[in-house]
């Protein structure tokens, strides 16, 4: 019974971390069709923003939840103004430009922080469940992901801002005719997407050692999750994270962690073969 609970927590944690890692990309790619290959580097910068703030004596939660998303969001804003805004609607060009950007960020981070592993300690202690011990930080990540998804859903569904954003993504010329500037809306959306990536990097920072090239570990998983999710933003995130997180943990527990990673990729290939439009291309159509 206790074991079931522990496994359940690990599965939920895997799902939550996938959703967290993919959220920023889902906003940028799902809403604006910009392939942001620097997504992993935005996460890496979120991690560094956290570590630097903590080392300067800021409370770790303030650093993770406020400073890192803001810093990375602002970096994203600059990137959008300088580069991305000239490339809207040109899928392949955004890919090339952001790939160059990712190399640039890795270079800058290496110059500033050096090519070494840095880390901060996990701020939450473990606790016992029956005979088992669980890392308390996992619960924090699960909790944060749930709040994040609810928040994103509420913002898009229930606010005027979200309505305008969704309308612009669907038909930017109509939105413009109604007096809204698509340029400004794209800018704001890119800011949100970058901030979400930075947020994810910050939340994961205490769990892992950070190097300037850390971003590379996340980009593939994030893309797979977003693409397998399909056109709907939130429903797609939830469904593909759940599926992959579950597959990954089943194989991790039954065979080994390496097998878990392989199983995730195999599941993605099978899924895209069966549902080329992603999960929400077939199910939950028209949902957020």
């Amino acid at each position: 019974m206790d074991l079931l609970f522990v496994i359940l927590v690990e599965v939920l944690y895997a799902i939550a971390s996938l959703a967290l890692v993919s959220a920023g990309l889902a906003v940028v790619f799902g809403m604006m069709k910009v392939i942001n290959l620097a997504h992993g580097e935005f996460m890496m910068m979120g991690g560094y923003a956290t570590i630097v703030s903590v080392n300067l004596g800021v409370n770790v939660f303030v650093a993770m939840l406020i400073i890192a998303p803001l810093v990375v969001g602002l970096i994203g804003l600059v990137v959008e103004r300088l580069i991305i805004r000239h490339l809207y609607g040109r899928l392949v060009d955004t890919m090339l430009a952001t790939w160059g950007l990712s190399l640039f960020f890795i270079g800058v981070a290496t110059m500033i922080f050096g090519n070494t592993t840095t880390s901060i300690t996990t701020p939450i202690t473990g606790f016992a469940v029956g005979d088992y011990q669980i890392n308390g930080y996992n619960f924090f990540i699960i909790f944060v992901s749930i709040i994040l998804l609810i928040g994103m859903y509420a913002l898009l569904k229930a606010t005027r801002l979200g309505l305008i954003a969704r309308g612009t993504m669907q038909q930017s010329d109509i939105a413009a005719a109604l007096g809204y500037s698509p340029d400004r809306i794209y800018m704001a959306t890119f800011f949100c997407g970058s901030a979400l990536s930075g947020f994810a990097g910050a939340i994961l920072a205490p769990l892992v050692g950070l190097v300037p090239t850390s971003g590379g570990a996340y980009i593939a998983k994030a893309f797979i999750t977003v693409i397998a999710g399909g056109p709907s933003l939130i429903a797609g995130l939830i469904s593909s994270s759940s599926l992959f997180g579950l597959v990954n943990q089943i194989f991790t527990f039954s065979i080994s962690p390496v097998f878990g990673e392989v199983a995730l990729l195999v599941a993605a290939v099978i899924l895209l073969r069966l549902l080329p439009q992603g999960v929400t291309g077939k199910f939950f159509k028209g949902k957020m």
């Binding site: 074991l3 522990v6 496994i7 927590v9 690990e10 944690y13 895997a14 971390s17 050096g114 090519n115 070494t116 592993t117 880390s119 300690t121 996990t122 939450i124 202690t125 473990g126 606790f127 016992a128 005979d131 088992y132 011990q133 669980i134 890392n135 308390g136 930080y137 996992n138 769990l207 892992v208 050692g209 190097v211 570990a217 943990q249 991790t252 527990f253 080994s256 962690p257 390496v258 878990g260």
Partner: protein, 407 residues
């Protein structure tokens, strides 16, 4: 700022070209070149940086004592940035362009194997000064690190005695980790225990949550963790964060090699059992004077560790070989070393084993306490019996391979 016109551009080019075309002996007639090739940045920098510092300390000591055979030692060093591809490139540069007299370097087994044949072909004497999985048999190489048999034979019986018979192994998923895991299983079985599970992790894995849950389902008495590099350090932190540290004891043949025990907080590290040739806490006059020289040279820095000291031993051993041979020629130095010469270093007495070109050395059994390695017991002058079982260079001097030691 002078105007660059065609004439002075050509002149500068000619001067530069002239300097590059000077033969080696004209540039450095009175020095011997010692090539160093180490990862001083990237995930393995915690190993490589102090190794480089130790190398420079050893060389400055040799030079302060008048050099070797009346010549100063000059270091030619490359940072391979934890990138295996760069080893091949810089290895060839050391032998072809720099034409060094000896090469010390390589950290991961993969890096050693990337350059070993280059050194052998170019007849450049090569020292690999890192603890590793054993089995390399090649007359052109000398190895100073402890081998699995030397470490594990000390560590496992002690750790099992303190905990119990059911052992769970977590190993790095590459050459070293795979072989180390086999050795651990063998020694566990020899001591009447059983290995209940072995898990391997690629070097970039840093999330051990599911593994920690899985360990608890198995419920071992002891965990032996030959994990390697910065990412794997997360295991020890997540283990403590899950509150497991006082429930199942840990032993590791790798933790602390790069001074990881100083990165971990006391809550995370205390009580982990290790066995090495060196610890900063060894009480000996050699260690005291070594630590003092290090601190003086590097502004009070305290980052010397196992493989930094192995590198230091390696350079002293090579210097001793050169002195004994009275020559820098590779074959003379190899013959001199094969007489089984010894040096006294910070880790104790180190003797070259002529049969295997490995080292006979002291192994200290230790426990991590408050970011220090407390010495519990010293096992003097252990033979590299694993490599001795497969390698005899006196009988087969032409041997050139890394044997998979049958366990």
């Amino acid at each position: 700022m002078t105007n660059i016109n065609r004439r002075n551009f050509m002149a500068a080019g000619a001067a530069l070209g002239g300097a590059m075309m000077l033969p080696n002996w004209a540039v450095s007639a009175d020095t011997i070149k010692l090539g160093s090739i180490l990862d001083q940045s990237g995930p393995f920098d915690a190993y490589g940086k102090p190794m480089d510092m130790a190398l420079r300390l050893a060389v400055s000591k040799i030079n302060a004592d008048g050099g070797l055979l009346g010549k100063k030692v000059e270091v030619v060093s490359y940072d391979t940035q934890s990138d295996m591809a760069l080893y091949t490139q810089y290895g060839q540069q050391l032998t072809r362009q720099d034409k060094v007299d000896v090469v010390h370097g390589g950290i991961l087994s993969a890096s050693r194997e990337a350059i070993r044949q280059t050194m052998r072909k170019s007849k450049t004497l090569y020292f690999y000064n890192v603890l590793y999985e054993g089995g390399v048999c090649d007359r052109n190489i000398f190895i100073n690190g402890v081998t699995p048999a030397q470490q594990v034979e000390a560590l496992i019986p002690y750790a099992m005695g303190k905990s119990g018979k059911k052992v769970y192994v977590l190993a790095a998923d590459y050459n070293y980790g795979q072989i180390m895991a086999k050795w651990i299983q063998k020694i566990v079985a020899d001591n009447g225990g059983e290995t209940v599970e072995v898990d391997f992790f690629p070097l970039d894995v840093s999330d051990f949550g599911s593994t920690i849950a899985k360990i608890q389902t198995v419920g071992p008495d002891l965990i032996v963790a030959p994990l390697v590099g910065g990412a794997h350090l997360s295991f020890f932190r997540q283990w403590a964060a899950a509150g497991m540290k006082d429930k199942i004891p840990l032993a590791s043949p790798t933790l602390g090699v790069g001074n990881e025990h100083k990165v971990l907080t006391p809550e995370e590290g205390n009580g982990i059992m290790v066995a090495y040739n060196y610890s900063q806490e060894i009480a000996s006059s050699e260690n005291d004077s070594f630590k003092k020289a290090w601190a003086d040279a590097y502004n009070g820095d305290q980052s010397m560790h196992e493989i930094a000291v192995s590198n230091y031993h390696g350079i002293l051993t090579w210097a001793e070989g050169v002195r004994k041979a009275g020559s820098f020629q590779r074959d003379d130095v190899v013959k001199a070393l094969e007489t089984g010469i010894s040096i006294m270093g910070p880790g104790g007495k180190v003797t070259v084993d002529p049969k295997t070109h490995h080292a006979v050395l002291d192994v200290h059994l230790m426990e991590i306490q408050d970011q220090k390695m407390k010495v519990i017991k010293t096992l003097p002058q252990l033979q590299p019996i694993d490599t001795q079982a497969v390698c005899d260079l006196e009988a087969n001097p032409k041997d050139n391979k890394q044997y998979e030691i049958k366990i």
